[in-house]
Assembly symmetry: D2
Homo-oligomer: 341 residues x 4
């Protein structure tokens, strides 16, 4: 930690800070420049981070040296992690050479809908099925998902098709249910900083798909992953899904910059959800291709058999044949950068 | 709802949309201009909002006419609401002529700390005591609050000082505890779209202090209030506490624009938290004065007896005497605009 | 234009608006719904856009139907434009099937530097050379470019290598110089709304590379292009180069969403500058690949022979061999989506 | 400057950086911690800022210690500056105890309009008249101002009323005209980083009203002021006028946080333009009151005798009597914080 002192900081101010720091069991190193005096603090930065050093008289600014995430950092593993889990149709790996494709509707609506979509996306080459049973909706008057009935339909679809299932958890009280039915638990963007929920899935051993919050910096995103890891669950996959900016022509601004930055900052696999990210069907495919070109370990695509009748997110869902066309182009781009789909 | 058709929309496209709309039980009104054909849809807009009209072939854009919030809208009440609740020292009113001041530490830390601060802010004129027992922290390694022990200390402080208490709820499973101890339940910024939590406090009858999420538009903010109201709890107070922008010199960007806009859009009282909003002690007082000048019904200020030793948010906490000085200036500004503190 | 009236708008308010609109030579169409009365206004929307309809008593909101850009709109041409210009080594086309690569240093520094870089990037396959002689720098104490001397060096390099040159114009008074030396004139992000400059290059017939402003919406961006087109110069190429968001780990947030959106909204070619967009060398190549996968008509890459000694933007410049490696991967991705480099 | 090295930086990397730094004439100070090695660089930071240290192998991050603005910094003067200029009705001072009120229409439209408004706002207590002759408009089809004719009308109004005049400069070629007619030159938000324009007004000795760009950080804003100061013109007044955020209910987000932050960072006076800042008439007055409460040295208010017929910004202009009412409330708030209007 580097503490920059104000030009008018007194000797008493400096001595006071040094005393405190020593009292906390750390060492200081003072360096007086022509324009500013600087205090380097040596010792565990986690401890220091908790101290309100900026609140001390005479302090101009405090600059941490280390990243606040440890278990999630690339340094911790020195290599990319591959999240692996058993599934009816064979083990699924996210983060390896192969680009993982997750597809399915926003919400589970009916038996026919989810089964039909699952069969189709499996044929097109998807490895996981997405489908929400508990839906976080901006309006209390919107469809909130089928709940437990939706989980049952997912279980049946999983049995019928062999596709493993990822579905969203929105309440700590539902974890036991979701754990029983899902192969992978999704934490949605609006709950990225719902720390009670993060701690609970951290105690689970199910793989977790953690979506980036709408205004989460990459640092915030990794700190939320750190919550899960620090409880012992290392099966975490990060998902970029669009941030909030001033642009209004798209639903969100898909931030593909996050892909290469995350690949450097963390060992966790990184996938991209262009459906929510840009939010308009016509633009989903180009953004999915771009995500793979940028180095994403996977994409998650909303697909619906009848977008016009969808109970949620119809505007951004690909039709079955559009998804199939996308898959073939994804294969081309993946190969061009030395991966496969 | 106004549907604007693409210039190349076919007659079949138009007929298809009209058929569907009639099938949903609504009426359409077609208007052909020189450059665009427009379809007005007449009937309950809530129903329509759920339909993915933008996903229909030939549609260029869809423009809602009505606001998506109903119970929270100013129109619903045609006057400002005053949230009132009994408290040991007499009824508290938020939203009336008097500007309400809520003060206290970020977290409850010790008996001496919370009692000392409570006595001091009460003497200076605060009407409610804030203090967190369950703390949502960005890092899993940060102090997470005293939990139930913190609630006990708040209860004792309430008995000793007569100050009513507002404290944060972060997990649906803790509601019963918080309801027992708190006069007002805070929903924090990170949980503004934790809809499970909103529904639960909606079923409670305790007053709720709902903080604006970091990237929540004013519309999103009111939709979250609508969740609580739609469950039957109308005792909701909104709190602006800073949004996320590109600026890095302050912790957040306190958005005082939200004050007059919310006063027009909703009947719910609006208060401002400049401590989190700007996040640096030296700037809290000017922003508190500005909040009152802008028309806020109250301010919420972090105050600590020893900011340097605070376990959280020491950088943005006023010292006891700074808070006292602020109160006297707040009185002046409130009087200048015809209110009192 | 759709005018939505407030629920408490009086008949007199409505009549007043109708009178004014008729007085402006337009027609109105009134539609009374259960909750809102709506006034459709029929006639040239450009005329109406200038009228402060929202300032009229009784008006709740005003919703334009048409896009404010006309000459820049896709509708205007109904097909993508190809910007073509003669150059020493043969005609250059931007916007066709081939993806155009522009490369070179941020600033022209010395004869050896610009010549060396130009020869190298030409060998690697670049079609245009970039290099700034007049540099807009955030600090007045930073290197401001070589000015006219820089233009001379560009002219020499152009003669020697046959590479056409794009360079930035920052002052209306320099246009004649730049026109003489450059094949394409760049308008930088900070000058995207410098309307005097836009009008001047609109009167020129040189191709213009217009960069998106840091906080320009896509609509703003197209309105700036409209300024140039409305003066008669249709040789405009748009360049996405990163927007300002809350993220601090990268210099800007390259907004690849803009690529497919612009390809739908306008007939003008769209290129991407990942060097400024993400601002850190290690991330430039993945973002360049993503840009092409997203459908960009070209990329503009900063390349330097010795980034450590660069007088500007060394942090984001590729080394010569890194650029060569990127070119080969760009070819692969372009082929995967049916284009070439 | 603090250089943090990557955990895997080699001794050769470190030696290479040290050599270069010494070669630039500066000194280094190496500090090896358990987790990171840090290199402190001692000597003029301006020189270092120009060097692409982050481009060196082995560097993780580079952290400047000093602010990049010098002449604009509070430290430079150690006290607030008062910008003073002679005017027909006596000297005007901005930055003193008195809060300065600038009022007038967005654009000069006719002789009657500008004269009528000027007389009225003078009677209400305004100290300066605003009015644009050259207008930067988002659309090329919008009213662009009366140009030289507008300047003539401003001159006549100045003579008739004694009110000094502030008007906008948008092109370096117009400076001589504007200098002749205006008491104060406005640089608009869109030109905040038009460095050619900044250098030109820096060579002038007229007071400059510099508006903050829509996505300018406070640091960017001060760097633009530094451009003017570094050319010798210290008569600079800063104007906060709203930044671009995700909120769409208001035209911009007026950032009052900038007021106390700027008062600490710079000696230059700071005023606020709530008319552009929030952009809707009903909200201008509360935001003006809040600006003064937050510590602004002045406010700039758009006032029009007939907003419905205004050729620009009618939606955000106060009517004459609304402005008069605001003035009386401004006096109250100013007094409450120990200032006057």
């Amino acid at each position: 930690m580097i503490v920059v002192l104000k030009p008018d900081a007194t000797e008493a101010d400096i001595a006071h800070i040094q005393q405190q720091v020593v009292h906390w069991g750390l060492q200081t190193h003072l360096s007086r420049g022509a324009q500013r005096t600087i205090l380097g603090i040596i010792g565990p930065e986690d401890l220091l981070r908790e101290k309100p050093l900026a609140a001390f008289p005479g302090v101009e600014s405090v600059m941490p040296i280390l990243k606040p995430y440890r278990l999630a950092s690339f340094e911790f593993r020195q290599a990319g992690s591959v999240v692996t889990f058993a599934a009816p149709g064979g083990a699924v790996e996210i983060g390896g050479k192969r680009v993982t494709v997750i597809a399915g509707p926003c919400s589970v609506e009916t038996r026919e809908q989810i089964l039909g979509i699952a069969r189709s996306v499996k044929n097109s080459g998807a490895s996981l099925l997405r489908g929400g049973a508990f839906k976080p909706r901006t309006s209390p008057y919107s469809f909130q998902g089928l709940g437990l009935e939706g989980l049952d339909l997912l279980a049946e679809t999983r049995r019928e098709t062999g596709l493993p299932v990822v579905t969203e958890l929105i309440d700590t009280r539902d974890l036991a249910h979701i754990e029983k039915y899902a192969d992978m638990i999704q934490i949605g963007a609006r709950n990225m900083q719902n720390y009670s929920l993060l701690k609970e899935v951290g105690k689970s051993r199910k793989p977790v798909l953690l979506k980036r919050g709408m205004s989460a910096t990459i640092k915030d995103f990794l700190m939320s992953a750190e919550y899960i890891l620090s409880e012992g669950n290392f099966n975490v996959v990060l998902c970029e899904r669009g941030i909030r900016t001033f642009e209004t022509m798209t639903r969100n601004t898909l931030d593909l910059n996050a892909v290469p930055v995350l690949k450097r900052e963390t060992h966790l696999p990184v996938i991209v959800d262009p459906s929510h990210g840009i939010g308009l069907r016509d633009f989903v495919s180009p953004m999915a291709l771009a995500a793979v070109a940028a180095g994403a370990d996977g994409v998650m695509i909303e697909v619906h058999n009848a977008p016009e009748s969808a109970l949620s997110d119809g505007e951004q869902s690909l039709r079955l044949q559009e998804f199939e066309a996308l898959m073939s182009r994804l294969r081309g781009v993946a190969e061009a950068i030395g991966r496969s789909v």
